[in-house]
Each structure stands twice: as structure tokens, then as C-alpha cells.
Amino acid sequence: MKYAIFLGCTVAGRARHYEMAVSKVAERLGIELVYLDDFACCGFPVRSIDFLSAVCLAARNLSVAEAAGLNIATLCSACTASLPFACLPSAYILHPSIFLTLRHSYNLTLPTISVKLITLQQED
């Protein structure tokens, strides 16, 4: 099994011990954790300020994992709850320039992103 490990902000900066424990457990369970340099904030901290921004930040992270062809394993409860926010119906009304950012940076087409979001929603 192979997963893209999503550390988020807190685990990476403030909870190294947790990450160390996770890598040991994953090793024992035979799970390979891949670090993707392009992962950034999951979007949770800005949700209070602007919901759309949070959804876009989450969608960007999903796109990063999609470009690498991997599913995501999160360690933090806020990230776990925040990433699927990109699957909510309101995510379909993304700002065009955000789609452009996602498209240029990760070479994803607009339909790919939408289909990905819809699939995630149905699985939910």
C-alpha cells in the first residue's frame, strides 16, 4: 500500500513525535508513505474567514495527490475534515482563476478536477 502523507501545518511544525510514531507504525504495517513537496495548508484555518478560499486550498491539495496518482493519508483531524470540503457542491462554483492556477501548476483539466470532486462526493 502506498499513500501520500499529508502533514498539514501543526504536525510538521509542532508535533514531530507524532510523525515519527506514524512512520514506525506504517513501516510495521507495510504502508509506504510518500512525501509530496507541493502539499500546503489544508484550508481549515482560513475557513472562518472565507469558505471559498478554504475549499480552493483543499482542492489544490487533492489535485497535487491526483497528479502523483496517490491517495492521501492525513494525520491531523482538521486536515482530515477539511480536505473533503472540496467535495461539497459549493466547490463546483470555483473562481475561474483558481482553476487556471490548478491547471497550469498541475497540468489538470477542468473536467478532471470536477470529476474528481464529484467521485469523492459519491463515495462519501
Binding site: 502533514l7 501545518c9 501543526t10 511544525g13 512525501y35 484555518p45 474567514i49 469558505f51 459549493s90 492556477t101
Partner: protein
């Protein structure tokens, strides 16, 4: 009760609850029957009477728009989800607080701590900075190094029109 606590009906905005219901997260606001389960379990309410979830919902339903949006207490919810977990009516209070805050930000009210978080994410793509010092410590315990910045996050915030909050409010 002094005049301060009097609620003047003519000053209320009866459409405030609809505004909340039409904002992402606030959809279930009208389900609340004010049982108080949220306030009973709220860890923030236990520490401070200033934050009282049931009272906030009541204020929203009554239409006390200005008072709710300009208040400090809407920023106190720690999003622990205890209320959301226990609510018999599935009001999703944590998400309602998100909706209220989103509207408050549009009206020009934002708590400085949230502005500081926004600033970090805007510049480095993360809340807590990962610098060389952190990466040396990571290396020592056998963890791979992490990049210190991510420029896309700032681009996305800019495209959503959120970055301008930092400029207009002089965020630190």
C-alpha cells in the same frame, strides 16, 4: 435588566437567519429548538460566559444582526465539534459559526488572530514556518526535510480576493 439588555424589535433584521441559511455551513440554522445541549457540553462556555452557543443561535434567529457580527464571541468557538456531535437537531453549530464569521469578515469585522493566520498562509502556505532549524531537527530523528514555502496558497488567496484583507486591515 437595564436598557442595555433590552431588545428593540424595530432594530432587528428578520432576514438575518435566511442570510445565514444561504451561506455555506449555515443551512441548518432554523432546525434549532434551543434545547441547550450545545452550551452544556461546550468547553469554551465552561471557561467563559461570554461564549454561549445557545444564546448566539437565539440572537441569530431573533435577527440581532449587527450585535452578532460585530461581537468578539463569534470568534471564540474552537471548532471542537462537541456541539455538532451531540445536537439532537443536527444544527451543525460549528459550521454555523463558520458562516457567521464569513459574513462578519465581509462586513469588515475580523479577529486579529485570524488575520495573523491568514498572513502566514498567504506568505508561506503553512501556519507554522518550517525553517532550516526545523529541518535539521527533522533530519536528526530520521524524517525527510520539508519545503519552507508554497507560493500557490498565496495565489489562491489572491484569486479569492482574501489577500486584500491583509492590505486593507494592516495585518501582521
Amino acid at each position: 435588566m437595564g436598557d442595555k439588555n433590552r431588545i428593540v424589535v424595530s432594530e432587528l433584521d428578520p432576514k438575518f437567519k435566511d442570510e445565514i441559511a444561504n451561506t455555506p455551513g449555515g443551512e441548518h440554522i432554523k432546525r434549532c429548538f434551543l434545547c441547550g445541549t450545545c452550551s452544556a457540553g461546550c468547553p469554551v462556555h465552561e471557561l467563559s460566559d461570554e461564549y454561549n452557543p445557545r444564546k448566539i443561535i437565539r440572537m441569530i434567529l431573533l435577527g440581532m444582526r449587527d450585535k452578532v457580527l460585530s461581537s468578539d464571541f463569534v470568534w471564540l468557538c474552537s471548532t471542537c465539534y462537541t456541539c455538532r456531535e451531540r445536537c439532537p437537531q443536527d444544527v451543525k453549530l460549528s459550521d454555523i459559526m463558520t458562516a457567521v464569521r464569513n459574513i462578519a469578515v465581509k462586513e469588515g469585522h475580523i479577529h486579529p488572530s485570524y488575520l495573523a493566520q491568514l498572513s502566514s498562509i498567504n506568505t508561506q502556505g503553512k501556519l507554522h514556518e518550517i525553517d532550516d532549524f526545523d529541518n535539521r531537527r527533522r533530519e536528526r530523528v530520521g524524517l525527510p526535510p520539508l519545503p519552507s514555502t508554497n507560493e500557490d496558497s498565496g495565489k489562491i488567496l489572491n484569486a479569492c480576493g482574501v489577500s486584500k484583507l491583509l492590505a486593507s486591515q494592516g495585518g501582521s
